[in-house]
Structures are given as C-alpha cells and as structure tokens.
Symmetry: C2
Subunit: 245 residues, 2 copies
C-alpha cells in the first residue's frame, strides 16, 4: 500500500474570525484533497497577525506532508501572508522578476504602484502558482502552498498545484442511509467499528423528509476489501434491527 | 474601557475534514461572538481522535477567555468529545443523574440503551446546557463550552449559554464600498492604517454587479471616536482618488 499523504490547512483572515465573511474554502479544499488521495488532518483559522501566522505555519508544516494556506496575498497592508511564510522559513523575500515582468505587461507605470508591486513579493526559493487569469500569484515553498482567499482564484490555484503534489492511497468510502435513529444503532455500530479496525465508521444524524430523526452511516478505508466487509456488517446489522421508529 | 474577552473555537469531526459535511458553525459562531463582545481569535478543526481533541483543547483553553467546541456529543462510538474534555481537565466523567432522569421521562427502558445513555455522560463539575427541545445536553466546564455539531441545536445552545458569559467592550465596525480597485487604494490605505493605530482596517476585493473589480473597506475599533476618525480619513482618501476605473 502506498504512503499516506497528509495536509494541514491554514485560513488567514480577520474577516473570517469576525464573521463578516463566511469561509467557503475549507469545505472545497477538504473535498478536493480527499479526492486526490491527501488526508486533511487539521484546519486552523488565524487573524491577519504575523506572529500568529508564523506560529501556525511552523506548527503545521513540521507535522503534515503539506500545508495549504488561503488569504492575505493581495495588495493592501493587511495582506501579510508572503512575509509570514518567509519569516517561518527564515528566508528572504523580494519582488520576483518574473511576476514584475508580467505586471508590467498588464499595467501602465502609473497603475503599477507600490501596493500592486507588493503582490510580486515572493519568498526566496518559492515556485510560482499562476496562470493568465490569476492576478496575484500564489506560490509553493517547500511543503507550504500559498493561495488566494477569493474562492474562484483559490480553486484555480488548486488545479494548477495539484499535479505537482504526491498523493497517497486514496481513502475510499461508502455510505448508507440507516432509516433508524442514531441512538438505536449506537450499540451494534460500536461493535462493528471495533471488529473492523482498519476502517473508520462515522454516524451522522439528520432529520429526514418526513421530519423523523434518521442517520447516515459512512464507512471509510484505504483497503477496498476491508471497506466492503465493514459495509456488509453494517447492512446486516440494519436489516436485523428490531426497533420501531 | 472594559476588559477584552477572547475565544477559541474547536470544531470536532472527521466529516468536516473529509469534506463530506460542509461546516456551517464557524461563520455563525464568529458572528454571534462579535455581536456579544467576545473576540474570536482562532479556530481549529480536528478529527474524532481523543489525543487530537485533548491537545487542541489544552492549547486553546489556556490561551483564550473561552473555548467553544462543536460536534461529537451524540450516542455513537465516534462521539468522544465529553471524554476528551474530562481528560483535558483531568476530571472524572459519569452519567449525570439529572440527564439520566430526563432521559427516563423521554424513553422507555428498552429505548434507553447504552448508546443513548452515553449522551448523559458529563465530566465532573460541568454545568449542563439544555432545554426541553435539546436531546443530548451540552455543557460548560470552567471556560470550555461544549455544544452539538448540528447547526440548529448548536444555535439553541449558544442562546442558552451566552447570558452566562462575560463579554467585553464590543468591537465596533463601519464599512464603505470603495468603488475602486484594491490595488489603486493600497498605498493611501496603508498610510491611514498606520496613522490610526487603535483601529483595524480591512480591505476586501470583490467583483461588483458590473463585473468590475471593486473593494469593500471595513474599519473596526472598540473606541467609537477613533473608529469615526479613521472612517473619515478613508472617505476623504476615496473622494480624492484620481484613478479612473
């Protein structure tokens, strides 16, 4: 079985913590990474504060195969992600000649002001993440991938960077609607979970279309045979359930 | 000026990290806390893993006035938040007599199985967060507030627990639509930010209804006079802007 590849995600921005902006990137990145065989293990959201960003970067980058960041790469004073990454890695940061050249094609000398030039500041040694439609580039420095906060741009950057990443054995999953209340299946489900240690069994209650408490069960494993065996056990348990709803 | 009250939020659940469930609680709690004068400083999302939960709880609870958690208080084997909180505080955990009594009113002996009784396990010394419509209670132990993951239930729990919390001087905010591209105002905005140190000025680009790049500017401060002074400076800057869009 191939290596397990892990990731942490660092969402950077006062506006998420104040509730002004509702994050849409965590869910997208979580699903994206699952689909390419990278396990997202932890997410952190921190403010536009260099010390906080550096501390979180250093906590995550030593722990996981990759760290993805979103936010803080625009042209204004509160965009400090690139500087924080350079500081976390103790490398220099300067205007990247390739990015400056692209900016000169795009903007007149008058429009290419100091604020816009900030977006060309890239830590030494980083690879750019850019395309014709991306204004401020993202970048990848070692195992840290720095992306925009605006969802459409972040998503374009994910598509660019994903082929450069190693990916592991993909986590497989199967799910079934229990048509039972979570409390009625908790006991037998625990026994199945204990009997199938190489699987992860999740139980997610919801109100169904008849406004009755119902439960989705999700079985996950990297091994298709173990996944199937656990799923069979779950289905047998549900078929034998004697409890009336 | 009154004390500054801070909070961390810990979202617990494999389903968020796999992308299967899209979190709706972070945005709600962020906005709720801002409105009651509590500054959300950090969010973490971790898996249904006791060691991870305990480590995150201990990191956050010593650092912020309050820690809120969502998820992992249901009846199944993957619901381990209460145990993790007990472990983090090194206190015991047992079936809470008041909760068990409520469960006995609600369920027959047959339905009140071991799985459902798990929802009555509350760390020693915790105060319950419950109401007639809440099935599995949340609880507050010291500065840690444990809530359900299902948004409607979590929201009901926030309403119950909020009056018990101390709150600080509320962060005030004002915003203005710049009708300018972020890159055109980054320079003067930085000068305003530096000249108004007790305010936080955020710049948020967006595509407006005419599909032109536009920017929302948000000024925040606990001091209404300083907020107004910074906002006046921002408005003057925008009025004097010579750049054509």
């Amino acid at each position: 079985m191939s290596e397990i590849v892990t990731a942490g995600l660092l969402v950077i921005g006062d506006e998420i913590l104040s509730g002004r902006t509702k994050d849409k990137n965590i869910g997208f990145i979580a699903e994206y990474l699952t689909n390419i065989g990278i396990d997202l293990k932890e997410v952190r959201v921190v403010a536009d504060d260099e010390d906080e960003i550096v501390a979180a970067l250093n906590a995550l980058r030593h722990r996981y195969s990759y760290v993805f960041t979103t936010g803080g790469i625009g042209p204004t004073h509160d965009d400090i992600t690139a500087d924080a990454v350079a500081k976390a890695f103790s490398v220099g940061i300067d205007h990247h000649p390739e990015v400056v050249a692209r900016f000169r094609e795009r903007w007149s000398d008058q429009d290419l002001n100091e604020a816009r030039l900030r977006m060309a500041r890239i830590p030494d040694g980083a690879d750019l993440i850019q395309s014709a439609t991306i204004l401020a580039p993202g970048f990848k420095l070692s195992n840290v991938i720095v992306m925009a906060g605006i969802p459409t741009i972040m998503q374009a950057m994910m598509d660019i960077v994903a082929p450069r990443l190693k990916s592991g054995a993909r986590m497989l999953s199967d799910s079934i609607r229990a048509n039972a209340r979570e409390g009625d299946i908790g006991g037998p489900l625990r026994e199945i979970a204990m009997a199938h240690p190489d699987t992860i069994i999740g139980s997610y209650p919801f109100m169904d279309e008849e406004q009755r408490p119902n439960t989705n069960l999700v079985v996950r494993s990297r091994d298709p045979d173990k996944l199937a065996a656990a799923m069979t056990a779950v289905k047998e348990m549900l078929a034998n359930l004697q409890v009336t709803r």
